[in-house]
Assembly symmetry: C2
C-alpha cells in the first residue's frame, strides 16, 4: 500500500496527461475576471461540487465547470489551476461550514452533556442533508487506500472531532458519563452519522435528523436492559 501516490487517485476520461488535469504551462496568461460575478471562487466551487456529485469527478472537466458558471476556462484556471486544487478547496470549505454549523447549534456549556451531544449530532445530520450532493462528493468521490488528504483538510477534520470530544469530556468530568474514553465515544457517534452518506435517501420519508435522534438514543442509553 504505497503511502504517497498523489496522482494515483485521479483518472480522467481524456487520459492522465491531458491539459484538463495538469497544471497549465508556466507561460504567462492574461486571465479575465468578470466584473459581474460577486464571489467567483465560491460560485465555481459550488458549481463544481454539484457537477462532481452528479457526473463524477473524472467525468467533469474544468471546461464543464467553466460553462456551468458562464466563465472562460482561463478564468477558472485563475482561481483553481487544477481539478485537484479545486476539489481540495471544496472539501475544506465544506468541512469548515459543517464545523461552524454544529458549533452554532450547540447549547451553552452549562447544559447537560446529553442535551449538547444530541444537538451536535442533530446539527451534523441537518448540515449533511442540506448539503447532500456536496457531502457525498466529499466523502465518496474518491477513496481507497490512495486518497491523499491535504494538510488543511486534516486540520479541519481534527478540529471537528475535537469539538465532539470536548463535549463528551465535559460529561465525563461532570460524572454524567459512565465511561472514560471520550475518543471512543466521539468516534462511535461520528461513525454512525458519517455512514449515512452510504445509504441515506434524501427523498425518503425520514429526515436525517430523525436518524440522528435514533443514534443518539442508542449511544446515550444503550440497548440492553440493566
Amino acid at each position: 500500500m504505497p503511502a504517497s501516490r498523489p496522482h494515483a487517485i485521479w483518472c480522467n476520461s481524456g487520459g492522465m496527461a491531458t491539459s484538463e488535469n495538469k497544471v497549465p504551462a508556466a507561460k504567462p496568461r492574461r486571465v479575465g475576471r468578470p466584473a459581474s460575478m460577486a464571489a467567483p471562487r465560491e460560485t465555481i466551487m459550488r458549481a463544481a461540487s454539484d457537477l462532481f456529485a452528479q457526473g463524477g469527478f473524472a467525468q467533469t472537466s474544468l471546461m464543464d465547470i467553466a460553462a456551468a458558471v458562464g466563465l472562460s476556462k482561463a478564468a477558472v484556471y485563475h482561481y483553481f489551476p487544477t481539478k485537484q486544487v479545486l476539489y481540495d478547496a471544496i472539501v475544506v470549505d465544506l468541512l469548515q461550514r459543517l464545523h461552524d454549523h454544529v458549533a452554532g447549534a450547540l447549547p451553552v456549556e452549562t447544559e447537560p452533556v446529553g442535551i449538547r451531544l444530541r444537538a451536535a449530532m442533530r446539527g451534523h445530520a441537518e448540515f449533511f442533508e442540506k448539503n447532500f450532493a456536496e457531502y457525498v462528493t466529499l466523502l465518496h468521490g474518491f477513496g481507497g487506500l490512495n486518497r491523499v488528504v491535504s494538510d488543511d483538510e486534516r486540520a479541519i477534520r481534527k478540529r471537528y472531532e475535537t469539538m465532539f470530544r470536548a463535549i463528551i469530556s465535559k460529561g465525563i468530568a461532570d460524572g454524567a458519563i459512565r465511561t472514560s474514553d471520550a475518543a471512543v465515544i466521539a468516534r462511535g457517534a461520528l461513525s454512525m452519522l458519517n455512514w449515512m452518506t452510504r445509504w441515506f435517501d434524501p427523498k425518503g420519508k425520514r429526515r436525517a435528523v430523525d436518524f440522528a435522534d435514533d443514534y443518539f438514543d442508542l449511544l446515550a442509553h444503550g440497548i440492553l436492559k440493566p
Copy 2:
C-alpha cells in the same frame, strides 16, 4: 441525481471507449485456459482486488491483472469480459465470505443477545482486518451518487443485515433489549463497524476487534449514567 447511469462511475486512464473497458466484439475467439491453474476465477479475482486496492480501479487494466496471475489477457476475458463484471464479482464474493465468517462465529441461539451481538460485531471486524485491502476496494473504490449496485450485491447485503436484525429481534422478543426497533440497532452497529474502512490503520497498535469491543460496549450499555 440520475438514478441509472451505468457507465458514469467508470473512468479509465486510456479513455472511456478503449478495448480495456468495453465488452470485446462478438467475433469468436479461442481463449486458452491454462491447465496448471487450479482455480483461475478465484485467482484472478484475488489478484485484481489487490491491484485495485493498491493502484486504483481506473489505473488497473485487465492486462495488468493478467500479468499478475501469469495468464494471457484473452484468458482473463474468458472469465470476466469487462472490468465491471470482475469488480462486481469481487464485491459479491467478499460480502458472501463476510456473511459466512460472521455466521460461523455466532454462538447458538440460546445464548444471550449481548453475547451473540458482540460475537457478530467481532466477527465482522476480524474479517475486515484480515481482508483489509479487498475490503477497502469494495467499499471505497467507487462511490458517490452514481454507484450502480448489482442485484447480487443488493441481495447479499440484505442477507447480511438481516442476520444482524435477527440477532437483535430475538433479544427484543426475550425482553433483554429495551427498545423495539431492530433495524435501527442493526444499522447503528453496522455503521460504526463499516466506518472503520475510512480510518482504521492495519499497522496501528489496536486490532479491529478491539474497536468492535468498544463499539459493542457503547451500544449495549450506553454512555449516560442512569
